[in-house]
Amino acid sequence: MTISRSLTTDRVTVGYEDRVVVEDLTMAIPAGRISVIVGANACGKSTLLRAMARLLAPRSGAVLLDGRSIAEQPTREVAKILGLLPQTPVAPDGIAVADLVARGRYPHRSFLRPWTTADEAAVTEALTMTDVLDLADRPVDELSGGQRQRVWIAMALAQGTDVLLLDEPTTFLDVAHQIEILDLLTDLNRQRGTTIVMVLHDLNLAARYADELFAVQGGRLHSHGAPADVVTAATVREVFGMESRIVVDEVSNTPLVLPIGRHHSSERRLPDQRDV
């Protein structure tokens, strides 16, 4: 078990140039749990995650890691505690899987301290856990989308942080690979106690995998709590601007959102009157 880290935002306002994207937002990430941030497109959820990872400096307010402002801590020290898998990382041409994952050790190394057995062990463990050890010598650009995403997660694992932020880790993956990645992150959380914070698009998968769900709407925190409490027809209407019916997901006993589009409302679902 790792030491539990606290990550909170204290009245954070973040924006690009003249546009405010996240406004006066306060939230506390529960340590050692899986938190998922959901919301409509452009609601500010990715921006919020980037601010938490110190990639964007807040205009006002602060992101606090272990009670201290993240902006005031040395960035290499933060990198030993807090990791991030961005939406579109770039793999250098022709790099081998093992070499890419090894770059995750950067914050633990220095110019005069060469590769150690601790570094080697961390990389091996990361490759094993993400099940890409067999691919270690293959060039990353030859891998499939699902394999590549596991390699990037391995790099983030090699960084050995207690907190891991992920920006839509399942985009571009088919449903089976989405589940595979989310199961892997759950394993990581259960086995290592890593605090996981991710932005997800799919509300139903978010409800399945989250311990704590944060719903963001218009740059503000709409509601948060256990998925069963947060995912209601009213919340879905207010956050996504969509009508829905909520049923129980029989597989995981979590809420399942059934969206109601214009063509599929229950009133029109007569057997002989299909969509024309």
């Binding site: 960035t75 770039v90 990389v123």
Partner: protein, 338 residues
């Protein structure tokens, strides 16, 4: 030994092998530069001169003329190879080499103005070229800045700045006296013809500072390659690091340009060639050696093997231009991604 270590040591072996071959090639071409010329000297005589013996005839031709030329060719090759690779890697774009981006043109334009209007020579031209190269690079960086610097925007703005500077060079050439224009043109084509011992110390001392600086920054560069967000998450400040890398890279281009004029396309070609030889590894050292091979080989070909002598920059230009065309043609096929 674990499977992981086995795979890595196989890659390391390949890297050492390729690097050693490149180094051997540099030494061979270096010696060939000393041997070949209007009068061919044997290897024993050449080695005698290097060892400091007095060999009649060879001591002057080899010791005074060919040796500084070979040393300068090697050093500017190293400088340009490193600089080009630093640029291309940190901007993640093979087109983003200093000779395409107008950084070299900045040095050239300033040097031409200094030669043509102020009658500057030698060290003054060198200093002016270095300062102007830095200034153009900073201008380029400032103009490309919009929530950070992105490769494709920087390439386009760099090409535009280069076009303006070429116009400046053309204008100056039409204005200055003929004999100065001839000198300016010789300088502009990238030539080692006038290389003397006096040119060696400033170049060597600059490289003694800049090459270690590049080596120190190499690991950060490797992280920056993974994208700005990943780099920041790993504890590397992308913008600050890029600015440091830019200063080192421009310094390398500028001192090389100051020593021999703009030797076309060496910066542009070295990194991609090294990347072909050693895919997916840190390229700085192999690219530096490839740069030295290119300049030495081009100077040998231009000086000895063709029907008439050509300045080194003409030969590298003739090799580099087709590669640039191929790269642009390929980027058309890949949907215009620069």
């Amino acid at each position: 030994m674990t499977a992981l270590a086995a795979g890595r040591s196989a890659r390391t072996r390949r890297r050492i092998l390729v690097t050693a071959i490149l180094a051997a090639l540099v030494i061979a071409l270096f010696l060939l530069t000393l041997v070949l010329g209007n009068r061919v000297y044997g290897l024993p005589e050449v080695l005698g001169v290097i060892a400091g013996q007095d060999v009649s005839g060879a001591s002057f031709t080899v010791g005074r003329l060919r040796l500084p030329r070979a040393i300068i060719a090697t050093l500017i090759g190293v400088a340009l190879g490193l600089a080009g690779t630093l640029f291309q890697t940190m901007l993640r774009n093979p087109l983003a080499s200093p000779d395409i981006l107008g950084v070299g043109y900045g040095s050239s334009a300033a040097a031409i103005v200094a030669i043509g209007f102020f009658g500057a020579q030698g060290a003054t031209v060198a200093v002016v070229a270095v300062v102007a190269g830095m200034a153009v690079a900073l201008l380029l960086y400032a103009l490309s800045w919009r929530q950070g610097v992105q490769g494709a925007r920087l390439v386009l703005i760099g090409i535009a700045i280069g076009a303006v500077l070429v116009a400046v060079i053309q204008w100056v050439l039409t204005r200055i006296e003929v004999y100065k224009a001839a000198e300016a043109l010789r300088w502009l084509s990238g030539s080692l013809g006038s290389a003397l011992w006096g040119d060696v110390p400033p170049l060597a001392i600059s490289l003694l500072v800049l090459v270690p600086a590049a080596a120190v920054l190499a690991r950060r560069l490797g992280v920056l390659q993974l994208g700005d967000d990943t780099a920041a998450a790993l504890g590397v400040r992308p913008h600050r690091t890029r600015l440091l890398l830019l200063v080192v890279a421009v310094g390398l281009v500028a001192v090389a340009t100051a020593a021999a004029g703009p030797v076309a396309f060496v910066a542009f070609l070295s990194g991609p060639i090294a990347g072909r030889l050693l895919p997916g590894t840190a390229l700085l050292l192999p690219a530096a050696l490839v740069g030295a091979v290119l300049v030495l080989a081009a100077d040998l070909v231009g000086g000895n093997l063709l029907f008439t002598t050509f300045p080194v920059g003409v030969v590298t230009g003739a090799v580099g231009a087709p590669y640039l065309l191929w790269l642009i043609a390929r980027s058309n096929r890949t949907g215009g991604r620069l």
